[in-house]
Symmetry: C2
Subunit: 278 residues, 2 copies
């Protein structure tokens, strides 16, 4: 049967996407309804937690117009192609691909949804991820194009929903949980971020965004609560310098929070004996 060139290209891309994901054991999508709740900080630190346990791990920055993963890893080089494939960057053993490696600093990417989705497909089909135990995808906020494309093409097996305890954030996170349910992502868990702040002057806990909203959300929606992370000024400073806190200060309280969330995710996978996800 005759197929035109475009259709053929799409077929080939689909084949390459299947190939890529067949080599990645667990695909975790980190999302939230609202922005600025700490998705990227969680994605990056979770990836290094898995790596520190000896797993082969990668991060895909799926925030096409506002990519921050590269900055948080202090990687500022241009994308490297080899035999028409993108070679992911590596930091302390974690592989990473981000749109930031294509964009010029400060220049906006004014792309409508279909173009952004095309780029995500490109990042799944044409990146030499090789065999991975975990690929963590850091998504943009909302329930729009990038999330749909990742859900359909990458077929994640775990949706990690990040929220702050604040009500407006919890409302948006509930939408994200229901999106993950509709997308039939097998495992869904909630992380509460910015859960209290310790004053560096007087050591009292400041109830910045409230506390407990994430736990209630998980319970009400019958999904797992994976843990909470306190707000930590030092983590923010390290983020801006491109140094994930779990690497730089592995025994800090906040690093323990990230590790505990990673352990909970691992446990869920183990419990369900989900070893064959292809």
């Amino acid at each position: 049967m005759f197929k035109d060139k475009n259709m053929k290209q799409l077929d080939e891309e689909q084949k390459r996407i299947q190939e890529t994901i067949s080599k990645i054991k667990h695909r975790i999508a980190v999302f939230s309804g609202k922005g600025g709740v700490g998705k990227t900080t969680l994605s990056v630190n979770l990836a290094f937690c898995f790596r520190l346990e000896g797993f082969s791990t990668g991060i895909l920055d799926a925030d096409i117009t506002g990519p921050n993963v590269a900055k948080m890893l202090d990687i500022h080089s241009d994308l490297i192609y080899l035999n028409e494939k993108i070679i992911p960057f590596e930091k302390s053993g974690v592989k990473m691909v981000s749109m930031a490696s294509i964009l010029t600093k400060g220049q906006p990417l004014i792309w409508r949804g279909p173009m952004r989705s095309k780029m995500i497909n490109h990042f799944i089909a044409n990146v030499e991820w090789d065999i991975l135990d975990y690929l963590i995808t850091d998504l943009p906020p909302g329930t729009g194009d990038e999330i749909l494309t990742i859900a359909q093409e990458m077929r994640p097996d775990f949706a990690v929903i990040v929220t702050t305890p604040q009500e407006v954030s919890v409302i948006d996170a509930e939408r994200a949980i229901n999106m993950a349910k509709q997308m039939k992502i097998p495992y869904i868990g909630v992380v509460e971020n910015m859960s209290g702040l310790i004053c560096p002057h007087c050591n009292n806990v400041i109830d910045l965004f409230g506390i407990g909203g994430g736990k209630i959300l998980a319970k009400e929606n019958k999904v797992k609560f994976l843990g909470s992370i306190p707000m930590d000024i030092n983590t923010r400073i390290l983020c801006d310098k491109g140094q994930p806190v779990v690497l730089k200060e592995p025994s800090a309280e906040i690093s323990e929070s990230f590790k505990s969330i990673m352990k909970n995710i691992e446990l869920i996978y183990k419990e369900k004996e989900l070893f064959n996800i292809v």
Copy 2:
């Protein structure tokens, strides 16, 4: 010349969009690169600042998949149509339209870009805004579909870019500034939000996200710096209750910050004698 039904409908919509914006003196778009920097809090409080000065004011919630304006105004009714036009809600004299009035709580809106843009056009063309001095549009994060559609159809005359002082936020805000420049929005200003936090226990200033990043950003990109807003726990609590702080506690320090930003915007309009924007 023959036109099919679809084309005719689009023409009519364009006519109605022109009509709508011809009746709105100043159209302010509030955006940022990154999410969670306080766009909605600023949009809502700015709107009430203008209203308190006697101006007729409206807010359009252009965050289609993560609308929070209605929640921040404690408006939970369904959208009201009259003669095929949407009648905006009103709170203390400020008009408001949000996708939240159509969505069921917790249910995600899984729409790709073209559908979201269509909804924004609908909100410009078919809402009975009437004559307004100021319409403030609260945009979703990023530089995607909604922002493009608002820039093209609403033709804002002022882009207010919100950032926290944190580096990863400033990087994304720079992209937003350059997008506003490319979109030829005449006036561009930067607001620094979450600029320091006062500990409620010991009254010392906590350098949560750093301080000053927004001012430097404005200077480097040759746009106006409109002012900074401290982080305030009470404002967050009032937000969650649907009570804008400038209404509830007009003499609070943070309310003064919002007022000062409003005054700076007014001043820029006055300075440039921008009284005919159609």
